[in-house]
Structure formats: C-alpha cells, structure tokens
Symmetry: C2
Subunit: 427 residues, 2 copies
C-alpha cells in the first residue's frame, strides 16, 4: 500500500464530492490501485464557515502557502473554477513540480497548451478528465483507447443545463423561459445562466475534446457559438413532426478543408443515439476510421460524477508522477480551422398568404445553390388574404456562407414578414 498526500484548492460542490468518494470508497480504491489517498490540506476562503462535511483538525486553510510550500503534497486538485485566480494557482503548483488535477474547462481550453508545457518542464502532470462531460471518461478514452484511430467527427451533448431545458420544452411543451426557471429552481442552472444557455460552457469543452481528437489546437476563438435562447416551442414541435429532436450540439469535424468546430442548436434525427439523450444527461458521439461509430453517455455534472473523474485522475497521477499530460499529443494550430462548413438547415419563416411567395423565396435559395429537401406550407386562407402563414423548409447540405447570403435575400422579399429561425440539421 502506498499513501499519497494530496491537497484541494476550493471545497465547493465537486471538491466535496471528491472528498466523499475518497472517504467512502477508500477500500475499493486500495484494492484496484493499491493506493490510500490522504487529503492533507484544503484551501478555502473562510475556514470558519459551516460545512456539510467536517474535516479533520488542521486540514482547512486559507493560506495557499500551506500547500505550495509543503513538499509532502505531490498532487493538487483545483476546484475553484473560472479563469482567475485558478490559472495562477495551477501555474504556481506546476512550477513547484506538483501534478495538478482539475475540472476547470475554461483554464484548460484557454491555457492548456501553455500549462502542459510548464508541467513537462517541471516533471509533473496536468490532468483534466473532469473538465469535460463530468463522470464520462471521454478524454481518457480518446487518449488511451482510440489512439490507433483517425477520428473524423465528434458530436456531443455536453451541457446538461441546456439539455434539461430542451427536454422539458419538448416533453412538457414549456417555453424557454419557463423551462429555464425550472432548471434554476432545481439548481441545474445558475442565477446568471449565460455560460450555459449561450453555449460558452459547451464551447470550452469542445475546444478541449476536439484538440485531443484531432491532435491539433482548436482554439476557443476558432469555434462558432450560438445559444438556445431563441428556440421556441414552435420549432421544437415542427422538429417532432418532421422526425427530429432539437439539441444544443457541439460538433467538430476534420475534413479535407480543415477542421470545423461549432456549438449551436441542432436538429438531430430521432433514430440517432444522441436524440434520446434526455434531461441533464450528456453524451459524446465519435466517428473513427477503425471504430466506426461510438457513443459515451452519462452525468455531465454534479458533485459525485465529476468527483469520480477527479479521483480517477488523482490515482493516475499517483501511478505516473512525471507526466500523464493529456495535451501531450496536441500540436499548436497546424491544421486550418474553417468557418465555411456544410450542413442542412431547418428554416421557419412567416410570410403573407399570397400567390408567388414560395416562388420568390425558392428563387433566393436557388441563386445561392441551396437545394430544398422538404417544404411545409400550412395554408389557412384563400391564398389572397392579408393573413400570414408559417412556411418551413429543410434544405439539403449547403455551405454556411451561401445560406447566410440566401437568408439576406429572402429577408428582402416583401411578402416575408419574419425569418423566425434557422437551425442546422445533422445526420
């Protein structure tokens, strides 16, 4: 049996989860890895605050120096979250040769390559399984089980809050606002839900996952991002009628044109395994040349699931003190990231119920090489009224730029009252 001293930076939800796992499952861990983990220091802002877990005397501290200067501590788990001061703490730990385990997607997405270089220089490691998709070990799978594959595509539902909201909208016919309120009441969404509903959280995770999958840096600023705040009940109902589920998908593909990476609301066919991922669950779908299709599904957040990934990383760090850097394989930007990908589109617009409207609109699509697959026109008047009617299109695959140009043209057709939404469709 080996005893390993570790320290925690922060003791919020995930830190508490990791601590509980270390206490409750110590024997299971000892049997599988021969290691007894010993949490010797936990850095918090206020050591006198009342907590749900009572730590042994002397473990809580509000002085970072108690950790950084303690040479018996080999591994530090960071639970502070956000870019700063977390990044600075991580940096200082690595400079002291302490391996850092973190769930901090923002720091890893923005500074991961720099911090990995630092870790290697100081003979330690930077592990972050918990940063993406919580309990689901998708990072270790890409790095250590799919390493003989050329991965061509990753498509994931990697934000639990938005998936919960979209599930409620679809299954209980709620508006976005009502579903968001429910998610907030349950603690799934923050009081300020921007990071989730506007897709930033998914963006950071996609940057990490796609960089690992394609072994090249996919920077945060290279990823297209669009949130779910504009999705309406109507869109979700049309999706159902047409055989799709609406999800906030994070998609990265490697094609001959380079890499494309994007986070946006997406129509996913009902029979696709991702379509049935409900509530706050996450899933990642991967295509590789040898494996074909593969999917991993589980809890993407929460104290115990994310804590499980943290403890697993800590155990790997114990066994491999000089490294185990996940980002080792990533080259900085060697492949072009493109912003002109091809997808199919669902478009809903409101038009005057008049002759020749469809003719004018379809002309705009045709001029920009957008070919139509499905048209749903639900007429209600006599075709000569002043009423407006909804008009729905699903296109074949078209270039993003062409579609944007087509929509600009369509907005100028005078019988088009509104282009209500344009949602990308994945197969």
């Amino acid at each position: 049996m080996e005893r390993v001293n570790i320290a925690f930076l922060g003791f919020g939800t995930v830190g508490t989860g990791a601590y509980k796992i270390i206490c409750n499952n110590g024997d299971t861990i000892l049997n599988s890895d021969g290691i007894r983990l010993n949490v010797v220091k936990v850095l918090v802002g206020n050591i006198h605050k009342k907590r749900s877990i009572c730590l042994p005397e002397g473990v809580l501290t509000d002085r970072f120096e108690d950790i950084i200067e303690d040479d018996s501590i080999r591994i530090v788990a960071e639970f502070i979250g956000g870019e700063y001061p977390a990044k600075n703490y991580i940096e200082q730990c690595l400079r002291k040769g302490k391996t850092v385990v973190t769930a901090n997607k923002e720091v890893i997405a923005k500074h991961g390559l720099y911090l990995t270089k630092l870790a290697k220089e100081h003979g330690c490691g930077l592990l972050f399984e918990a940063s993406s998709v919580g309990a689901v070990p998708v990072i270790r799978i890409i790095r250590e089980s799919l390493q003989a594959n050329k991965i061509s595509k990753i498509m994931g539902i990697i934000n639990g809050t938005t998936n919960y909201i979209l599930t409620k909208m679809a299954e209980e016919d709620l508006s976005f606002e009502t579903a968001l309120q429910q998610a907030q009441d349950l603690g799934y969404a923050e009081p300020d839900p921007t990071a989730d509903v506007e897709g930033y959280d998914a963006l950071y995770k996609l940057s990490i996952l796609s960089s690992l999958a394609f072994q090249t840096q996919v920077r945060v600023e290279d990823i297209y991002r669009e949130g779910i705040t504009k999705i309406s009940k109507e869109d979700i109902q049309y999706a159902k009628e047409l055989g799709y589920a609406v999800k906030l998908a994070a998609i990265a593909k490697k094609t001959e044109d380079g890499i494309e990476a994007r986070v946006h609301p997406t129509f996913i066919p009902e029979k696709h395994p991702l379509a049935s991922v409900r509530d706050s669950f996450n899933a990642v779908f991967i295509n590789g040349d040898a494996i074909g299709e593969m999917m991993f599904y589980g809890q993407g957040a929460g104290d115990m699931p994310t804590g499980s990934a943290i403890v697993s990383d800590i155990l790997h760090a114990c066994q491999n003190p000089c490294g185990g850097n996940f980002l080792d394989v990533v080259k900085s930007n060697s492949i072009r990231v493109t912003d002109n990908w091809k997808t199919a589109f669902f478009i809903r617009m409101t038009v005057m119920d008049k002759p020749a409207v469809l003719h004018a609109i379809s002309g705009c699509f045709a001029r920009h090489n957008v070919s139509l697959w499905t048209v749903v026109q639900k007429g209600s008047g006599d075709g000569h009224s002043k009423k407006t009617v909804p008009l729905i299109f699903i296109t074949h695959e078209a270039e993003e730029r062409e579609m944007r140009a087509a929509l600009e043209d369509i907005a100028n057709v005078k019988e088009v009252t509104e282009i209500n939404c344009c949602i990308r469709v994945e197969k």
Copy 2:
C-alpha cells in the same frame, strides 16, 4: 521513437483488421504514443494460402517456434479464437515472458485468473480489451476510470448477432428463423449460430465484465443463460404495445444477497437508453455509486473495431512491459453468487375462453407471492366458447424461484392450453 516487434497468432478477420490499422494509422499512433509497431511474424496454418493482404517476405510462418523462440518479440497478439489450442499458445508465450493481447473471450472467461497469475510470475501482461464489446473500451473504463466507484449493476447488449436479429424481428416483423437467415447471409451470424443465439458469447463476456466490475470472480458456471430462439413475433409485438423493446441482455448486479449474473431475453422500457440500441450495435450500461448511470455504445465486433481495441492494448503493453494485467483486481470467488434474483416478468399464455380462468391463474400467482402489475386479456368470443385466447401478464418484482413455482401451478390449470413464454423485465 521506439520500435516494438510484435507477432500475431492467426490472421483471420480481426488479425487482418489490426494489421491494417497498424499500417494505415502508423503516424497517428506515433504522434499519440511515440511508438512504431513492427509485425515481424504471423502464425498461420497455411503460408501459401491466398490472402487479401500481402505481408512482407518472411513474416508468415506455420511454426510457432519462430515466435516463441524469438527474443526480439515482446508482445504477441492472439487471434485464433476458441478454447484450444489458443489457451496453450497463450500459456507458452506468458511462460517466455511475452505479454499477450487477445480478443479470446472464452479463454479469458474460463482461464483468465490462472493466466494472469502466470503472467505476473513471468513479469509480463495479459490484456484483453477486444474480448468484450469490440471497439468499446469498457474494460479499460472499468479498470482505469471508474476505479473510485462501487459498481452495483452492469446491463449490456453485448452480442451483435442477436441484437441484429431482434431488431429485424421488431422493425420488419420477421420471424426468428427469417431474421437469423438474413444475419447469416450478411455474415453477422455463423453457419452454426449456437454460440450467439443461445447466449454463450454474451455469457463469456459477462463473466469477464462482472468479474472486473465487482473485483471478484464470477465464473462461467455461475451465470444463468437463456437464448433467444423461443422469442416470437407475437412477444415482440406485445412488448411494443406495452412500451418495451426485447433485447438479449447480460445483467450482473451486486446486492446484499451476493452477486447475480444472467443472460436472457429481456423487456427493456422504451425510454431506457439500451432500448434504442439497434442492429448489430452493442452497449453497456453501468451503475456506480459516484457516477450514477453511464452507458457506452459502439460496434461490438468486426475486423476494424475489434482490431482497434487490439492495437490499443498492444500500445499499452509497449508502455508497461511488466504488467497492465486487467484481472489483477479480481479475487477468486469471495462473494456468493446467487441464483434467486428478483425481477418483473412478462408472461404470455394461451387459455380457453371460459369463466373463472383468470381467477384460477391469479390464484396461482398469489399463492407464490407474485403480484400482478398489468393484465391484458383480449377476449374474442362470448366467454363460453371452445376458442382459446391469449392472456398477458406483467408482474411486479418477484423472486425467480417463486415465479417458477407459480408457473408450474399454472401449467396444471386445465383451461391453460399453453404457457407460451416468460420473459424477464428490467427497469
């Protein structure tokens, strides 16, 4: 860069797949692991046979000695399949200190603990990710990512052939025989389909997965096994009407009574993620105290998917020449394996359309503490005819032994013409 010499035993479907991956994805592997794999010997029965892949001069051999006596070969991948002579070859390689990588579920399920001991004695390893669920790295996930969890349940669709057959029966309303024939025509099923349709293949895999998950030996002979040959179109149609999919499930649970492990046709609720696993795909659903629910989905067989798992194991063997034995954590039978589990049941019987039939049958259930949840009686006559009608029950959870006793009693009710089937129901 490190060059590693390896040898193959056998060069069938999976061996060819692994060889293709090593040739085609050599650069990807080099970037991720810094290793160049070099297949120096391939043992075959007939070196003159025409093959789809042309190997370099001198690689093919029909002499096992060329491999076992070549000290430059550190790793041997076994693709022969079946218990013998594969087990003997593996044994000899381990005795020579060569790490063995294999897809052989039968050898691992039956002799895994013994061979692991042998590997440890000789300072080498025994890796078998490819033995269960093909490309899906479920073994490595259990061993290296969920090691901080107490796993309470594994439920998997781990045989692609039977899943293909059941999918065709459900979606195209085929009989078992027709669907099996289609599977054989497509090469999904062997000319002798016994190992698949009678559940032996799933049994070996479940023995391996549950032993790893529960860190205790779950022997082949401890697992209950029932195949899919008696499943009829009618059962599948009733399942659909009642909101279930019929799957050949491999289930292992750890309860206070010990471990239960079983492979049998199973009603799975439509909303369960396993219900939507179609065609020849496999999936494994895991419950752990920290992770909650997790599922892994992918190709369970085939040259390239299984080859991918083999090559991944080879790379791990290169990095950890003295071990990496998956079965290290398994104790021989330290926990009791029970044969009296609790499940709900779907029961279809054919009865005379007469008064008091339901009364008599429900009395049998009651006497053995089986409580009914759903009863579907589709009457067609006047309740006094000589016609028979189908009678369907879904029970609440009941003990296996009680249910068997109840069914014996019911078989003695003279208005019961036939008990057509009894299928377990999982939540």
